[in-house]
């Protein structure tokens, strides 16, 4: 018998061009528990191939930049960060 991965629902907020690409400011995804930031970004890019055209795409977790292998927990505040251009 093989153990199924538990799934969780996450909400990703999108700003700037990320919101334009997704078409809305919040994206709700079902993902496996224990998913890394890297895998989450891969998922997002697969769903919305236009992200591949950007110079960069990061995922902020709880208002912080994190490493690619950071594990996303249920309830985390997730925000897509396309290339910044303040100033």
């Amino acid at each position: 018998m093989c153990k199924q991965n538990q799934e969780m629902e996450v909400t990703i907020v999108a700003y700037g061009i990320a919101r334009d690409i997704i078409g809305t400011s919040e994206l709700i995804l079902k993902v496996d528990e224990g998913i890394t930031v890297k895998d989450m970004l891969t998922l997002v890019k697969r769903k919305f191939p236009d992200f591949e055209k950007l110079t960069s795409l990061l995922l902020a977790v709880n208002e912080e930049y994190v490493e690619e292998n950071h594990i996303v927990e249920s309830g985390d505040e997730l925000v897509l960060i396309p290339p910044v251009s303040g100033g």
């Binding site: 700037g16 061009i17 902020a60």
Partner: protein, 136 residues
């Protein structure tokens, strides 16, 4: 002081905030909206930010600056929403005992702001608009 604001930024207010009897120098950087980019006429600009994180990131930048230079007081204000041509989009004021630290720290803050702070600029032209720096 660090703020993200929808109001027009008054540089004089920030300069006042960093005034200090121990200061020999204040450097103020004002990023204003330019009427052209690479020869293309810009009609208006709009800034958008992930404000709570932007404020946190600016705080980290200031901490790094304070480790490198003798900063007495600082004030950073970034505008969001629609910004008319010629208006300030960002103002950074730093006071220090001596002038080299004022120039170096102020420049460091704006350089780092442009690299890591989650704020996005959209430029509007006569024939469309783009999110600045989004594409290679």
């Amino acid at each position: 002081m660090i703020e993200i604001t929808e109001q027009r930024i008054e540089s004089a207010r920030l300069i006042e905030m960093v005034s200090d009897g121990g200061a020999g120098a204040i450097d103020v950087f004002i990023g204003t909206t330019r009427d052209n980019t690479k020869g293309k006429k810009v009609i208006k600009l709009e800034f958008e930010s992930y404000a709570p994180m932007a404020i946190k990131e600016l705080g980290k930048i200031v901490n790094r600056a304070s480790n490198n230079w003798n900063i007495l007081k600082y004030a950073i204000s970034h505008r969001v929403g629609l910004v008319e041509i010629g208006e300030p989009a960002v103002v950074i004021a730093v006071s220090t005992p001596h002038r080299a630290d004022a120039f170096d720290s102020c420049r460091f803050i704006i350089d780092e702001l442009k690299k890591t702070v989650p704020i996005w600029k959209r430029e509007f032209y006569e024939d469309g608009d783009i999110w600045v720096s989004a594409h290679p």
